[in-house]
Amino acid sequence: MPRISSLATRVVAALVVGTLGLLAVLAVVGLGPRHVATRPARGRSRPVVTASVTRCGDGFDAVATQPVGQIDVRDDDSRPGEVRVVAVGGARDGAVYADLELLAPGTTVPLAIDLPTGSYAVQCLMEDEEPVTGGVVDVQGASTGTRGVPPVDQSELLRTTLDYQAAVGHRLGRVRHRISGLVQHLASGDLPAARHDWIAAHRGYQLLGGAYGAFGELGDAIDGLPHGPPTLDRHPVTGFHRIEHDLFTARPHTARLIGDARALASDLAALSHRLRSTQLAPLDLVLRAHEITEDLLQRTLTGRDDLGSHTALATADGDLAATADVLRRLRPVLTGRVPHPARLFTDLTTTRALVRRLARTPDAHRSVAQWPRVDREQLASAVAGLAESLAPLAVALEPRRTS
């Protein structure tokens, strides 16, 4: 990383500041640990910082006395790009404290900063150009402030993502095997075994973590939900939930179910083929860390995805197992980027234990609406708390350009 750090820059910065600015710094520091200065005084213009290959970070020295508030970032380049404020030197060297993406040439965009004491520089990542780093500025900031996060490079997650993809493919094989069993049991008229196959296959499918449309239209065909009542839905549900709707009734229409199960088997085969022929992006892996629990909250714990099987707890168990798997794989990059990584694992373990406890109650065979309120509150709160704790991972671990 090229640095234009120099004593001269710092001296210039100090001169630019002037007496008033220095007093402001002293005033802020003098107020102690509580973070006070949230915005520059009225009438004082916001620092304008240049984003470009040739003059990256011009104007940034003003933050020496205004480490909290907004700066205006102006793209003076002919290219679009990304601008970051990064720590220079020290334990957090390279950590990102502010980030502005999708900056268009000729535009000026405000960027909020809240810099703790340290040395910082602006990094300009213009399209098709090597990153350029501007002059280093020393900041007397607050004791708190934004938590800097070292960016994750795509390359750090490639191996992990490949391993994950292989594991997903392996699990998909087991789901397909279960669906074959489902077809056979339907053909032989063994409905209890067929229902057991469906539950196991559906839980197994949750382990794939296909949340939030991760598998696109194929995912919808496999595990999609009705888009409305039959009178309004021009694309009736297929896959798991169509079978669920017809199988968990008193007198299922077996012939139709066999057709639906075969269609599901064929969609699963297509997914299997796609998993072998295309590469999962590391971002997909990172997003799944919280999106599986988001799906669990929106689809399952609201009762929306229960079309008759009343297997919310089995689904939850599969979803949480899938989340745990993703989290384990991400563990190496969590350190230094998430404040309490160990707590995430503890919370996940606690929530899984809660699901197992509820699975030993009549809730295991009831729709969520029929659960005692306290059970619903306990599980929804645990999962919502988990989703809240996992959400930062998607931002902090998002693969970013580092070169």
Binding site: I113, T144, T146, V149, E377, A391, V395
Partner: protein, 413 residues
């Protein structure tokens, strides 16, 4: 699950701390102590004037005695945490967020460490906008879970159905209640989202009802969905020690608190609109247009029943006369009422689901609310209104300062 609470630390802006209260007069309609306009902000923060900051600190929670905001959200929650430590952590998170939100602040940028700390619905600088949050506890909090049975306020109990009620269990009770009020609905909802986010995993939302206080039409107290001015008569601040704040016989930790009743009262407005005006006025005991008591000429006149023992002017079973007969014997049954109109869509028959979020604060639940409620039983008005939810709560004492937290005295017992 505690991660979501302590990982978002308190971030307090300069705004609103230690500022002169000299601008308080600018805050229209805000007459109570503890309100001050932010001196460092020009009028640009709020569309209709300087930001109204109501300090959350003091002997009492400011949302009780203060002028009610024009919007409210009443949110009941259950404590999911299973021990006292978990409860304390949730109350601590609430305290610090209320301290921040009620004074206005600039949310902290998170860089790439996570999603934004704020929903952004109030713009980059969050105004105070007259926000108050009243935190109350329900009787269920004093069960076996937290070892608090011995600390229960003497008069706190679950709300049972009265004779004219049609209670929906899904809208009743709760371990905790947050009554969030502000000058605009977006500020209220912003605060609700923030408070829920910071207690996610520890507090489970149970039920919620939103309400609004319409502007004066054309003057005086706002009108309810029946077209009548509501909340004209309330005890004056001089009587609050006797009528509103917890009494000396209560556990010591309750000092400064108050019994807090919430009633979600459905109003059958289509039916009401098919009733003649004089019958409406007889049922209420006031003129519809002016709000004047039937015994008076303007809404500023106090109702006077002294020469009307048989109800020739104000029927004996009119709502205001039953609710407050204005005798010496019933003087201590008065309570501080705060009500907002709610609008919740339609019922199955296509009737509007309109009503009142009725809240009141008092020293003694039975002496005030319950006594009055029993007296109102069977009043002619009950054909047009149906209580469907709510509960009994105890509004905690106020936060003393920034270091204090809700339930401090309670959890130390």
């Amino acid at each position: 699950m505690s991660a979501s609470m302590d990982r978002r630390g308190l971030f307090r802006g300069l705004a609103g701390t230690g500022l002169a209260a000299g601008a308080a007069g600018l805050a229209a309609g805000c007459a109570h102590a503890g309100a001050s306009a932010r001196a460092d902000e020009p009028a640009t923060d709020a569309p209709d004037g300087p930001d109204r900051v109501i300090s959350p600190y003091g002997e009492h929670q400011p949302g009780i005695a203060g002028e009610p905001g024009s919007a409210v959200s009443v949110l009941a929650l259950d404590v999911v945490a299973t021990d006292r430590g978990g409860l304390a952590e949730a109350l601590k998170a609430l305290s610090s967020r209320v301290g921040t939100l009620t004074q206005g602040y600039a949310p902290r940028p998170t860089g790439i460490s996570g999603p934004p700390s704020d929903s952004g619905v109030l713009g980059p600088d969050v105004p105070a906008d007259g926000l108050t949050v009243t935190v109350s506890v329900g009787a269920s909090l004093f069960d076996h879970r937290f070892g608090l049975a011995g600390a229960k306020p003497l008069r706190l109990k679950p709300m049972h159905a009265f004779a004219d009620d049609d209670l929906d269990a899904a809208r009743c009770g709760g371990d905790l209640l947050l009554q969030v009020s502000a000058d605009h609905g977006d500020t209220v909802l912003h605060a609700v989202r923030d408070l829920m986010r910071h207690t996610r995993g520890a507090l489970a939302p149970r039920w919620r009802i939103d309400g609004a206080r319409p502007p004066s039409r054309p003057t005086g107290a706002p009108r309810n969905h029946l077209g009548f001015k509501d909340g004209i008569a309330n005890p004056s601040a001089d009587d609050f020690d006797a009528l509103v704040w917890a009494g000396d016989d209560e556990p010591a930790w309750t000092a400064g608190g108050s019994y807090h009743v919430v009633r979600i009262i459905r109003m059958l407005t289509e039916f009401w609109d098919r009733v003649g005006l004089s019958e409406q006025e007889r049922m209420i005991g006031r003129r519809r247009d002016s709000g004047a008591p039937l015994s008076g000429s303007t809404d500023a006149d106090d109702p006077d029943y002294s020469d009307d023992p048989r109800g020739s002017v104000t029927p004996l079973d009119s709502h205001i006369r039953l609710a407050n007969p204005r005798t010496d014997a019933t003087a201590d049954q008065r309570m501080l009422r705060r009500a907002w109109n709610y609008d919740a869509g339609l019922d199955l028959a296509g009737n509007l689901d309109l009503g009142l979020v009725f809240t009141c604060f008092q020293t003694d639940l039975e002496r005030a609310f319950e006594t009055v409620q029993h007296r109102l039983q069977g009043e002619p008005l009950v054909d047009y209104i149906t209580p469907v939810g709510g509960g009994y709560f105890f509004a905690l004492p106020g936060l003393r300062d920034e270091q204090d937290r809700y339930g401090r005295g309670l959890l130390d017992t």
